[in-house]
Symmetry: C2
Subunit: 210 residues, 2 copies
């Protein structure tokens, strides 16, 4: 069989095709800036879904906040192991960042049972007890996002893209209204893969310019 | 804030909403059988994308092959840690199944470098050297799927849903043509989350009927 076998060439060619499709099918579309463009294109790369051109919402300060926090070696908290699994941890470590997913942590399991809340919520509670600069990355759990907001937490930034049919959209609209530095997916779509793609797009841009 | 906090209720209500939307917006749509229905609905649950009603292709024998193999305690091989991360390993272990993702295995890293192939391809090569009944689960890497097919391997079944713009569609069409027991995503869409959702849907059905 004859097929392309060089990962970097495959990725490069993929992004060329994505750009060509946007130019052909959405000729009037304009990206706000190069980093938002990189994020949106990487989400399309990971979903093959061009609706993502119109789904992501960015607070005015979020790119700067995310960039500074990552460069200062902050801690990322994800709601699922799947989101954490998709994030490029090699690059994250190069910036001196830490990463955590507490969903299966024994403290979280105990706290969730004790308080009658979801493990996603208990994981937020445990994370908020820790010191240091935090970025929250939610691709799956609306309850995690609601919990963060109802606690009045002030993390450095939030990537809030839970997918789903019950609470997902409402949780993301609450994030948009919160005034926090945030990226949110409007509507039902989102996912752990989308969350990871957004983080990776920024990591690769920061690495290029480092 | 007022929001639903019981994971089982959230999931149950989500599937009711999905069924309602299908009935309202696709009134003539019919599922072939209950397991395919469970798989397709779980993929929609994980993507919020109703295009999945028309994307998944099932070989005539694949549901039976997958079910028997899982119940016999086969080994699942995934192309990414993200796909493996999304699969319910507790239920997999209840059936006596094993699971592997060799993408970062030192043997795979060495073999890929030595042969000038992708790590995804080398991971397939290493997997094929092992004994036992195998299910391959690919959500990301067309080169893994191409490799499996060019090796003429005869696994128990293949879930082939790589997402992307270079080789993804071609690799899945080659799977459809292969005659192997397989589930494939037609076109560009797919993903590690989709692959995991398909496996989980079947695991939950088998567990219910066990």
């Amino acid at each position: 069989m004859n097929y392309l076998q060089q990962p970097q060439l495959i990725e490069q060619h993929s992004f060329e095709i994505i750009s060509d499709i946007i130019a052909a099918e959405h000729p009037d579309y304009r990206f706000n800036d190069a980093i938002q463009e990189a994020m949106i294109k990487r989400v399309i790369h990971t979903t093959a879904d061009f609706e993502w051109l119109d789904i992501l919402w960015f607070s005015p300060d979020v790119i700067e906040q995310l960039s500074k926090s990552l460069q200062r070696g902050c801690t990322l908290y994800t709601d699922t192991t799947m989101a954490l699994s998709g994030i490029n941890k090699t690059v994250l470590e190069q910036f001196g960042c830490s990463y955590r997913c507490y969903i299966s942590d024994p403290r979280v399991v105990a706290l969730a049972k004790e308080q009658g809340v979801t493990r996603s919520m208990a994981a937020v509670d445990v994370a908020l007890q820790e010191e240091g600069e935090k970025i929250f990355v939610f691709g799956n759990a609306p309850t995690a996002l609601f919990r963060l907001l109802e606690k009045g937490a002030k993390p450095a930034a939030v990537i809030g893209v839970p997918v789903g049919f019950v609470g997902a959209e409402e949780s993301k609209e609450a994030l948009v209204e919160s005034g926090l530095p945030a990226i949110a997916a409007r509507g039902r779509k989102g996912g752990s893969n989308v969350a990871a793609a957004i983080v990776n797009a920024l990591l690769y841009r920061l690495k290029e310019s480092a």
